[in-house]
């Protein structure tokens, strides 16, 4: 219920958690798109996105422009919520629970505690159990995923390397998470204690994953996914839904496609959005993924993740 915020009440927070992961279930098999304005949100919904992520600047722009990246303006988030019938997500900085409180009060459907924004706390992530709004968090490996779940995350996504259009790190993170889950399933019961120590994750969650062979919450993928083929790749590697950040509305560097005044660029954005939605559904049918790829006009220029200096990586934010 709306008045139940789950603060310190274990009984209530189990109901809360079921509602949170319940919404994550509804988003499976779909594409969640980053949008920076009302018109992009309309294009995303029209193309078949299952949700939109409202933000001021997509990762490619944050990367190019620098500065402190913060939660989007409540005005922008409300405008986007007003035009969409699909769920609207928004990002809070790592550890910035006050931004998360604002997002919850605005009524967003999901909060992304995101490494794309500049972290606000170098020690603590947000206590996500304290919110009724569900959270998604990024992870590079199983230990990180389980730490986020123990803090109350209702959905995990690979971090990848946002804003690059280079899928290589999303692949590494997904393969790592899947491999580490499989490794747990073959351990003896009495070996799980040491496994929990090595993963730096709570024993109960480790035991749950070892038994089920999967995360206790949906496992999505984000970070550098830019084409229909990238979406197909991530789905085949075990992703349950795809986040596309800069891949749909960006031209090159920090310049977005001009969807308001330039008809050709508007069509380009629409073609990319539609193609990724189609390829995510039929990820295991190369003929349809080929058809989707063929329908795409242009693509994000991108930035090879290997060319980014270690200190400029976003994926190393959070722990």
């Amino acid at each position: 219920m709306a008045e139940n915020n789950g603060f310190g009440q274990h009984h209530d927070s189990s109901t809360g958690l079921r509602l949170k992961t319940g919404l994550a279930e509804m988003l499976k098999g779909g594409v969640i798109m980053d949008v920076m304005n009302v018109e992009q949100a309309r294009i995303a919904e029209e193309a078949g996105a299952v949700a939109v992520m409202a933000l001021e600047r997509v990762p490619a722009m944050i990367r190019a422009e620098g500065g402190v990246a913060r939660m989007a303006s409540p005005r922008l988030i409300k405008e986007i919520m007003a035009v969409c019938t699909i769920p609207v997500m928004a990002k809070a900085r790592i550890g910035h629970f006050a931004e998360a409180q604002i997002l919850q009060s605005l009524g967003v459907d999901f909060i992304d505690e995101s490494e794309v924004l500049t972290p606000a706390d170098e020690q603590h992530h947000i206590d996500k159990h304290a919110f009724t709004t569900p959270f998604v968090c990024g992870a590079k490996n199983l230990g990180e995923a389980l730490r986020r779940i123990s803090e109350g995350a209702a959905m995990i996504r690979t971090k990848g390397e946002p804003g690059t259009g280079d899928v290589v790190h999303a692949v590494t993170h997904m393969r790592t998470i899947v491999r580490e889950i499989k490794a747990l399933t073959v351990l003896r019961e009495d070996e799980l204690y040491a496994a929990a120590k090595n993963l730096q994750a709570p024993y109960e969650l480790v035991r749950m994953v070892a038994k089920a062979g999967k995360l206790p919450v949906p496992n999505f993928s984000a970070g550098g996914i830019a084409t229909p083929a990238d979406a197909s790749l991530m789905m085949q590697l075990g992703a349950e839904t795809i986040f596309v950040g800069s891949g749909i509305f960006m031209k090159e560097g920090s310049t977005p496609l001009d969807i308001e005044k330039n008809a050709a660029e508007r069509n380009e954005a629409i073609s990319r959005a539609r193609a990724i939605v189609l390829a995510t559904l039929h990820y295991d049918d190369p003929k349809i993924v080929a058809e989707a790829s063929e329908a795409v006009i242009g693509s994000m220029k991108g930035l090879a993740a290997a060319a980014i200096e270690e200190k400029n990586l976003m994926q190393t934010r959070g722990w």
Partner: protein, 195 residues
């Protein structure tokens, strides 16, 4: 001769298809995920899960899927939950969108609010076996039902589980609860209409 096990499909364009397939398998049914219109021909019944109905419609508008599904739901047992219920309705509001019109009800999308207004209710229903847990997620509301449609459960004054012959629909998510009664009811409907 072995009795015919009905082939049940779960529309897997997007949404909670996995959990539905799991619930059906737990009850001994043979459930396949349906992503292409050609698969419908081999099925005796279909579950349309929750998810985003706008995304479903986008996918259905491709390669004759909508027409094939329309034909299927007008002749075979179908169970729609949440977005599935929206798709089966006669009329959809908030906003208006296309629907199959096989279940004579009107549905208002996202009628209880956003995710923070999602809730779990446990109340008595017409199903035997005590109170039923009902998980509502950004749920729609049935705003009109034709006479003759059976109302099996209500939330306040609105029907939330309805049956019109071989069509069953709920605005909540029985696949997210451990209680198998709603899925069992659908399997009983399938059994009685295929034998």
């Amino acid at each position: 001769m072995k009795p015919h096990t009905p082939a049940i499909g779960v529309l897997a364009l997007q949404g909670a298809f996995d959990v539905h397939a799991l619930r059906l398998a737990e009850l001994g049914a043979d459930a396949t995920l349906v992503r292409k219109p050609g698969q419908l021909a081999e099925l005796d019944a279909l579950v349309i899960p929750g998810g985003e109905s706008t995304t479903f419609l986008k996918h259905l508008e491709r390669s004759g899927f909508y027409e094939a599904l329309n034909e299927f739901v007008h002749s075979k047992p179908v169970f729609g939950t949440c977005a599935g219920c929206i798709l089966l309705a006669s009329e959809v509001t908030n906003p208006h969108q296309r629907s199959l019109g096989v279940l004579d009800i009107d549905v208002e999308r996202n009628a209880y609010g956003r995710q923070n207004d999602s809730s779990i209710l446990t109340t008595e229903t017409s199903l035997p076996g005590g109170p039923l847990e009902m998980v509502f997620i950004r749920a729609p509301r049935i705003t009109r039902i034709a006479s003759g449609i059976q109302v099996l459960a209500r939330r306040d004054d609105s029907p939330v589980l309805v049956r019109q012959g071989r069509i069953l629909a709920s605005t909540f998510h029985p696949e997210l609860s451990d209680d198998p009664r709603v899925h069992q009811l659908f399997l009983d409907i399938v059994q009685s209409s295929t034998t």
